[in-house]
C-alpha cells in the first residue's frame, strides 16, 4: 500500500516539476497599419491658421504625411514632424522616445478634431488646446488624446530631403520640411561655442543649454540650433570658419531667424 502511495507521489511530483514553468503566451498579432483618405493637404491645413490659435472642431478633416523626424539622438524633443507633397507640419506629441513608435518614412494620419492649430515664433504647429496664455498650443501628451487624433499607417522608405541651395528656398513654404542645405558655409557661433551645444555647463553646473551655430547659404543665414540633451551636444563642430558643408535636418524658424534642427551628425557632410 505504502509503495503505491509513494509511486503516486512520485508521479505527482514529476508532473509538478514538468508543469511548473509553463506560463506561455501567444505573441500578439502583428500591428495592422491604419488606412485613411486624406481630405486636406498639409499646406491647406496650415493655411487655416490666421494669426491666432484655433481649436479644430471639424471631425471630417483627415491629414496624411510621412514621418521625417526622429528623437533618437535627443535633438528633437516631444515633437513629430510629418511632410506631404505640399508642406511639413510639426505635430506636438508630447512624449519622449517617439522614434520607437513613429518610424522615419512611416505614413501618419491625423484627425485634428479636438486639437489646436497655433504658432510659436511664427512657425505653425499642431498641438493640444493650451490653457496657458503664453503658448498658443500645448503638448498632445494624454494617451487618449493621441489615440483619438494620431494614427499610425504603413511603414515606408524615409523621404529624400529637399535640396536647398538658393536663399529664396529658405522660406515659410518649406518650414518643417526635411531639407538639405547645400554648400553652406560655417560662420561660427556668437558666443564662441565650439561644440554643437552644452550638455552641462562646467562652471554653473546648469544642465543642457542650447547651442547655436550659424551657417550661410546663398547669402542667407540659418542657425543650427542644437539641444543640450542631444547625444552629440558636446561634439566639436570641427569646421574652420568659412568651411563648406551640406547640412540635413528640419527647417524651422523663430520669428525672423531660420533654424535647422539636425536629426543626428550624419546630417553634417563636410565638402
Amino acid at each position: 500500500m505504502s509503495i503505491n502511495i509513494l509511486k503516486y507521489a512520485a508521479v505527482l511530483l514529476a508532473s509538478a516539476a514538468l508543469t511548473a514553468g509553463c506560463q506561455k503566451f501567444e505573441e500578439p498579432e502583428p500591428f495592422v497599419p491604419a488606412e485613411m483618405e486624406a481630405t486636406m493637404t498639409l499646406a491647406e491645413f496650415k493655411a487655416l491658421y490666421t494669426g491666432s490659435p484655433m481649436e479644430i472642431t471639424d471631425g471630417s478633416i483627415v491629414l496624411e504625411g510621412k514621418v521625417i523626424s526622429t528623437d533618437r539622438s535627443g535633438n528633437v524633443y516631444r515633437s513629430l514632424y510629418i511632410e506631404d507633397a505640399t508642406a511639413g507640419l510639426e505635430v506636438k506629441i508630447g512624449k519622449t522616445g517617439l522614434y520607437n513608435d513613429y518610424k522615419e518614412g512611416q505614413t501618419i494620419y491625423v484627425k485634428p478634431k479636438y486639437l489646436c492649430i497655433g504658432a510659436y515664433g511664427e512657425s505653425v504647429q499642431l498641438g493640444a488646446v493650451s490653457y496657458e496664455e503664453r503658448y498658443e498650443t500645448a503638448y498632445i501628451d494624454a494617451q487618449a488624446l493621441i489615440d483619438r487624433t494620431v494614427f499610425r499607417g504603413a511603414y515606408g522608405e524615409p523621404l529624400t530631403p529637399m535640396d536647398i541651395s538658393s536663399a529664396s528656398q529658405i522660406s515659410d513654404a518649406n518650414l518643417c520640411r526635411l531639407v538639405r542645405l547645400r554648400n553652406a558655409s560655417y560662420q561660427g557661433s556668437e558666443d564662441g561655442l565650439r561644440t554643437w551645444a552644452v550638455s552641462q555647463d562646467p562652471l554653473t553646473g546648469q544642465e543642457a543649454e542650447y547651442g547655436q551655430q550659424t551657417f550661410r547659404v546663398d547669402g542667407k543665414d540659418v542657425v543650427v540650433r542644437t539641444s543640450g540633451y542631444a547625444s552629440f551636444a558636446d561634439d566639436e563642430v570641427g569646421l574652420e570658419i568659412g568651411a563648406r558643408c551640406n547640412l540635413t535636418g528640419i527647417l524651422t524658424k523663430y520669428y525672423d531667424t531660420f533654424q535647422l534642427v539636425l536629426l543626428d551628425l550624419d546630417g553634417v557632410e563636410e565638402l
Binding site: 507521489a9 509538478a16 508543469t19 511548473a20 514553468g21 502583428p30 500591428f31 494624454a142 494617451q143
Partner: protein, 929 residues
C-alpha cells in the same frame, strides 16, 4: 577553608536529593482545548530508559507513579487530536500535578493560509524589498499567540512591532532565517502545511531548546518522518482571497517495528482570487522524509522538500488611481495579451532543502544532536526593463490625470483614457511587441559588428528576471544534559556557509531579437568610451533569452556561532540563562567589470567582520502548576545583513560608511494562568530598544535622472507595549476569547542618509540628517484587539466568531521628506509655507478598522478509522473594502521651479496603499485514515 566545606556540603546535599525520592510520579487531566472537556482513552506515554504507557479515565485523568526524580518526556495522543509532547520534572519524590494538559483537535481550523504570503511591490528595488509574511507562524499553546495568528494576520500585524525577520525559524533544529536579509523563510515550505504541522515555539525573549533566540520568539518545525501524523491525509481547499484550489496529499508510516519511518507529502495551489486581477498561483510542493531509529539511541533522518512556485505579484497604487477606477485592488502589473491577462511581475522560485539529522541518546538525560542542511535552487522575480523608450507601466505618474492638474483639457483626456481604455490602464503588451518587432537600428553595428542590423531587431522592452540564487549550507552540533531534576544545560555550535549569486537574465525579448547589454543611464550621461559598458569583460554583449546581463555578483557569508543555555529549577523558582557568541564575515565578489567602476566592481570586496553576542536571563516563579510570573531580559549585538551593507551592490564594492552592529536591549514581564476548567490568561509588558540599524533603499530618482540608493545609518527605535490573551469557558463548550496588543513603536533617533547614484561616484545627499525622532514605526497596527466566542459542540462540531479592532497604523516613510533638503524654500513664517512643510513632513495615520470573521466546521468518523471533515471561514464579513493595511511614501520628490528655472521648493508625490480584501471565504474538505 570554610568556603570549601560549605561547597562540599552543598554538593553533597544536591547529590543526595535524588536519593531522597524513589516514589515520585506525575498526574494530570487531559482536556480538549476547544471545548475544555475531558478526553478519555488518551494514550499517555512517559519515556525513561523504557516506555511507560497509561490511558486516561473517563474524567480525563491519569497518573504515573514509581518514578525517580528527574526530567521526563511525556507524549499524549488521542484519536482525533494532535499529539502533544511536554517535559515534566519530578523532584523531591513528589507526584507532580500537571493539572490540565489541553490537546488540540486535529482539524485544520483556519489553516494559516497563503494570503499572508501575498506580496506587494514596493518602490524599493534593492535585493531585500519586502515580502509580506505572517507575523505569527503558528498557533501555539499560548492563548495570545493563538488568537493573534488567526485574527491579526490579515492586517499584517507584527508581533510587538518587530520586523518579521526577528522571529527565528528553525527546521529540525537548524536556523533557516535568510542569510542575506534575516527574513523568515516561510516560502521554502509553503504548501507543506501537513508535513510541517508539528512545531515547537517559544515567544518573545524566551530561550528555546534549540537555541538562545532573539527578541521575537523561536519556532522549530519538526519536519521528521516520525513527526508527520501517521496515515493518509487528503484535503481540498478553495478560497476567494488567495487562490482557487489547493490539493494536498500526505502519507506517513509513523515509526514502524523495524525502526523506520517514512513520510511523503505533495500539494498544488492554483489560480487567482476574487479581488486582484493578475495575481495567480501555479505552485507545487513536495516533501520526502525517512528516519531510522536504532534502539531508541540513534536516530538518523533524511528530509528533502521544496516548493516550485510561480506567483503573480500585486502592485500598489495611489489613491487617485483607486478612486478613478472605483477599485482599491487595482493592480498595475498586468495587461491583456491576446485577450489573456499577463502579469509582468512573477515570482518563480524553486529552492529545495535537503536535511540530514542525527540524534544520539545513550541515556535518557543526555542527548547529542547534529544536523546539516543545504538550500539551493532558483529564486527569480520578473519585471519589465526598457531602453530609451517611454515607461511601460500604466500608472507611471506622468500618465495619470493628476499630472495634468493645471490643464483641465488634458486632465479630462487622461481621465477618459483611464476610464475607457484597457491599453491605457493596464500594460499595453501589443505596443511593446510592436516596438520591438520594428526596432531595426544600424547602431547595433557600431556596438557589435556581428549584428546583422538590417535583419535583426533590438528589443527596447523586455522582461527581465532578477535572480537571487542561494547556496546555503548549515551545520550544527548540540549537546544537552539533564543534571538531576533541577538543572539542564545545552551547548551548541552552528556554522553557516552561504554563497548567493545576484544577477539578472533576459526572460522574454517580447518579439525582438536581442538585447544589448549596456548601461543606458551611463550612456546618456557619459556617452562615449567604455564607461557605459555593464561588463568590460564582454563589451556590447548581444543578449538572448535566458542569458545574463546587467549585473552579476556573489554575496559570501560565513558565520560561526557558539551558544549555551542553562535552566535551573528549585522549588517554584526557575532561572534560565543563555549566551551566544558569533563571528560573522561577509563580502561581495563582483563577477563583471562595470565600465564606470573598472577598479571597484570586479573581484572581492574587503571582508566585513563582526563579533556578535547575545546574553539572556529569565526568572520565573510558579505559584502552582500553571500559575506563574516570569520575566526576561536580553542584550544583544547583531551584525548588519549583507543586503544593507553595500552602497550600490549591483555595481560596486563600496561599503556603507560607519557600518556597525545593531544593539538591542529588551525586557519583558509576564503573568500566566491556566486552570483545569480551561481558563487561560497571559499578560505581558515589554520594552525593547534597538539602536544603530541600517537600511538600504534603491529606486529610480527622477530628480537625479538615475538609479539611486539611500543608505541610512543610525536608526534607533523603541518598542514598548502590553499583550493580553484571555480565554474564559462559559458553558458547555462555549468560551470567550480575547486578545489585545497595545504598543507604542517609535523612532528615537535622527538617522543619517546618504544618497548615491548607481552609475557614478556622485553623491546626491551626503550624510543628510533625517528628522525621525518621535515618528512611528510603520507596517503594523500598534493597537490590535480581538473579542470572540468559540463553541465546540458534540460530534466534532465547532464554530467561532470574532470581532477585531485595529488602530495606530502608519505609513512607511520616505526619509528624504524629513530632511532640511526637502523643506528648503518653504517660508515657515507664512501660513502657506507652514502648511507645505507639514504636508511634506507629517506622517499619515490610517483610519482605525473593524474586521469581523467567523468559522464553522464538522467532522464525521465512520467505519472505525475514516475521518471526513469540512471547515469553512468567512472573513471580513462587514465587507469593508476601505481598510488600509499598509502603504508607503514614494521616494521621489517633485521640484518646483519658476520660469527662469530657479528652484522654488519641493513637493512630495502621492503615497501608495494596500487594502484588506472585502468579504472572502475559505472552505476546506479533508479525509483521513
Amino acid at each position: 577553608m570554610r568556603i570549601k566545606t560549605a561547597v562540599i556540603a552543598v554538593l553533597l546535599l544536591l547529590s543526595a536529593l535524588p536519593a531522597l525520592a524513589q516514589s515520585g510520579g506525575v498526574k494530570g487531566m487531559v482536556l480538549d482545548r476547544s471545548a475544555s472537556r475531558p478526553v478519555r482513552d488518551a494514550k499517555v506515554t512517559l519515556f525513561t530508559d523504557r516506555e511507560i504507557t497509561v490511558y486516561t479515565q473517563e474524567d480525563g485523568k491519569f497518573e504515573i507513579s514509581g518514578l525517580q526524580d528527574g526530567m521526563y518526556r511525556l507524549e499524549i495522543s488521542a484519536e482525533g487530536y494532535l499529539v502533544t509532547r511536554l517535559n515534566v520534572r519530578v523532584q523531591n519524590g513528589e507526584v507532580y500535578d500537571l493539572m490540565s494538559v489541553s490537546v488540540s483537535p486535529d482539524v485544520p481550523m483556519a489553516d494559516l493560509g497563503d494570503e499572508m504570503f501575498a506580496d506587494f511591490e514596493v518602490e524599493d528595488e534593492s535585493g531585500s524589498g519586502y515580502e509580506d509574511v505572517p507575523s505569527v507562524l503558528s498557533a501555539s499553546r499560548d492563548v495570545f499567540d493563538n488568537i493573534a495568528a488567526y485574527s491579526f494576520s490579515s492586517m499584517r500585524f507584527l508581533n510587538r512591532g518587530y520586523e518579521s525577520g526577528t522571529a527565528d525559524i528553525y527546521i529540525n533544529g537548524i536556523r533557516f532565517n535568510d542569510a542575506l536579509s534575516g527574513y523568515t523563510p516561510y516560502s521554502l515550505f509553503s504548501g507543506l502545511n501537513e508535513a510541517t504541522r508539528e512545531k515547537e515555539s517559544v515567544g518573545g525573549l524566551s530561550i528555546s531548546d534549540y537555541g538562545v533566540g532573539g527578541i521575537n520568539g523561536l519556532t522549530n518545525v519538526n519536519a521528521y518522518a516520525s513527526t508527520v501524523a501517521k496515515g493518509y491525509r487528503f484535503s481540498v481547499l478553495t478560497n476567494s482571497s488567495t487562490y482557487r484550489l489547493r490539493l494536498m496529499a500526505t502519507y506517513a508510516t509513523g515509526e514502524m517495528d523495524n525502526g523506520w519511518s517514512f513520510a511523503v507529502s505533495a500539494s498544488t495551489r492554483q489560480g487567482g482570487n476574487d479581488y486582484v486581477t493578475g495575481v495567480f498561483y501555479n505552485a507545487f510542493a513536495y516533501f520526502l522524509a525517512a528516519e531510522k531509529n536504532i534502539n531508541d539511541k540513534h536516530r538518523f533522518a533524511l528530509t528533502l522538500f521544496g516548493s516550485p512556485v510561480q506567483r503573480g505579484a500585486q502592485n500598489s497604487s495611489t489613491q487617485e488611481v483607486y478612486d478613478m477606477l472605483g477599485n482599491n485592488y487595482y493592480n498595475s502589473n498586468w495587461g491583456y495579451q491576446n485577450g489573456k491577462v499577463r502579469n509582468a511581475r512573477v515570482r518563480n522560485n524553486h529552492e529545495p532543502v535537503l536535511l540530514f539529522n542525527y540524534e544520539y541518546t545513550p541515556v535518557y538525560d543526555f542527548k547529542v544532536t547534529a544536523g546539516v542542511s543545504w538550500r539551493f535552487g532558483r529564486n527569480g522575480y520578473s519585471a519589465l526593463d526598457w531602453y530609451d523608450a517611454p515607461d511601460p507601466r500604466p500608472d507611471y505618474y506622468r500618465y495619470l490625470p493628476s499630472y495634468f492638474d493645471e490643464d483641465p483639457g488634458k486632465y479630462s483626456w487622461a481621465l477618459e483614457g483611464w476610464m475607457t481604455d484597457d491599453a491605457v490602464r493596464h500594460i499595453n503588451w501589443d505596443r511593446l511587441y510592436d516596438v520591438n518587432r520594428n526596432s531595426y537600428f544600424d547602431d547595433g553595428v557600431d556596438y557589435n559588428p556581428d549584428i546583422d542590423a538590417a535583419n535583426t531587431t533590438r528589443s527596447k522592452y523586455i522582461l527581465e528576471e532578477r535572480r537571487t540564487d542561494q547556496n546555503d549550507i548549515n551545520a550544527n552540533l548540540q549537546v544537552t544534559k539533564q543534571f538531576g531534576s533541577y538543572l539542564k544545560g545545552s551547548l551548541g555550535y552552528n556554522f553557516r556557509w552561504n554563497r548567493t549569486e545576484y544577477y539578472k537574465i533576459v526572460k522574454d525579448l517580447l518579439g525582438g531579437d536581442y538585447w544589448l547589454d549596456v548601461d543606458q543611464f551611463a550612456e546618456r550621461d557619459f556617452g562615449s568610451g567604455d564607461s557605459y559598458q555593464n561588463n568590460l569583460l564582454n563589451p556590447n554583449h548581444v543578449v538572448k533569452e535566458g542569458e545574463k546581463y546587467g549585473y552579476d555578483y556573489y554575496a559570501h557569508i560565513r558565520n560561526h556561532k557558539v551558544w549555551t543555555a542553562w535552566d535551573l529549577t528549585l522549588g517554584g523558582f526557575q532561572a534560565t540563562l543563555g549566551g551566544e557568541v558569533g563571528y560573522n564575515t561577509f563580502w561581495r565578489e563582483g563577477l563583471v567589470q562595470k565600465g564606470l567602476f573598472p577598479d571597484n566592481s570586479l573581484g572581492a570586496s574587503e571582508k566585513q567582520n563582526f563579533l556578535t553576542y547575545t546574553a539572556k536571563l529569565g526568572l520565573a516563579y510558579r505559584f502552582s502548576g500553571q500559575n506563574m510570573i516570569y520575566a526576561n531580559v536580553a542584550y544583544m549585538e547583531d551584525a548588519p545583513y549583507f543586503d544593507e551593507a553595500f552602497l550600490s551592490p549591483r555595481t560596486r564594492n563600496s561599503v556603507v560608511r560607519g557600518l556597525t552592529t545593531e544593539k538591542i536591549f529588551s525586557a519583558d514581564i509576564n503573568y500566566s494562568l491556566r486552570t483545569g476548567n480551561g481558563f487561560a490568561l497571559r499578560v505581558t509588558g515589554f520594552l525593547t530598544d534597538i539602536k544603530d540599524q541600517t537600511d538600504l533603499i534603491s529606486f529610480y530618482d527622477d530628480l537625479s535622472r538615475a538609479y539611486t540608493n539611500f543608505s541610512m545609518t543610525g536608526i534607533d527605535q523603541r518598542n514598548i507595549g502590553v499583550e493580553v490573551g484571555l480565554k474564559v469557558p462559559i458553558y458547555a463548550g462555549l468560551a470567550f476569547e480575547g486578545a489585545l496588543s497595545y504598543g507604542r513603536y517609535v523612532y528615537t533617533s535622527d538617522p543619517y542618509v546618504t544618497q548615491t547614484v548607481d552609475n557614478s561616484e556622485r553623491v546626491v545627499l551626503d550624510n543628510e540628517r533625517v528628522y525621525w525622532n518621535g515618528y512611528r514605526v510603520a507596517r503594523t497596527p500598534q493597537l490590535a484587539s480581538s473579542v470572540g466566542l468559540t463553541w465546540s459542540g458534540p460530534n466534532y462540531l465547532f464554530a467561532g466568531i470574532d470581532l477585531n479592532f485595529f488602530d495606530g497604523m502608519y505609513i512607511s516613510m520616505n526619509p528624504l521628506r524629513r530632511t532640511d533638503y526637502a523643506v528648503q524654500g518653504m517660508d515657515l513664517t507664512t501660513e502657506e509655507g507652514y502648511a507645505a512643510m507639514r504636508y511634506m513632513t507629517d506622517q499619515e495615520r490610517f483610519p482605525h478598522a473593524f474586521v469581523l470573521n467567523a468559522n464553522i466546521g464538522k467532522s464525521w468518523r465512520f467505519a472505525g478509522k475514516y475521518l471526513l471533515g469540512v471547515s469553512a471561514n468567512i472573513n471580513n464579513i462587514l465587507n469593508n473594502k476601505n481598510i488600509k493595511t499598509g502603504g508607503y511614501e514614494q521616494m521621489r520628490l517633485s521640484r518646483n521651479q519658476d520660469d527662469s528655472g530657479n528652484i522654488l521648493n519641493y513637493t512630495p508625490f502621492d503615497s501608495k496603499y494596500f487594502y484588506l480584501h472585502g468579504i472572502n471565504y475559505m472552505i476546506n474538505v479533508y479525509f483521513r485514515f
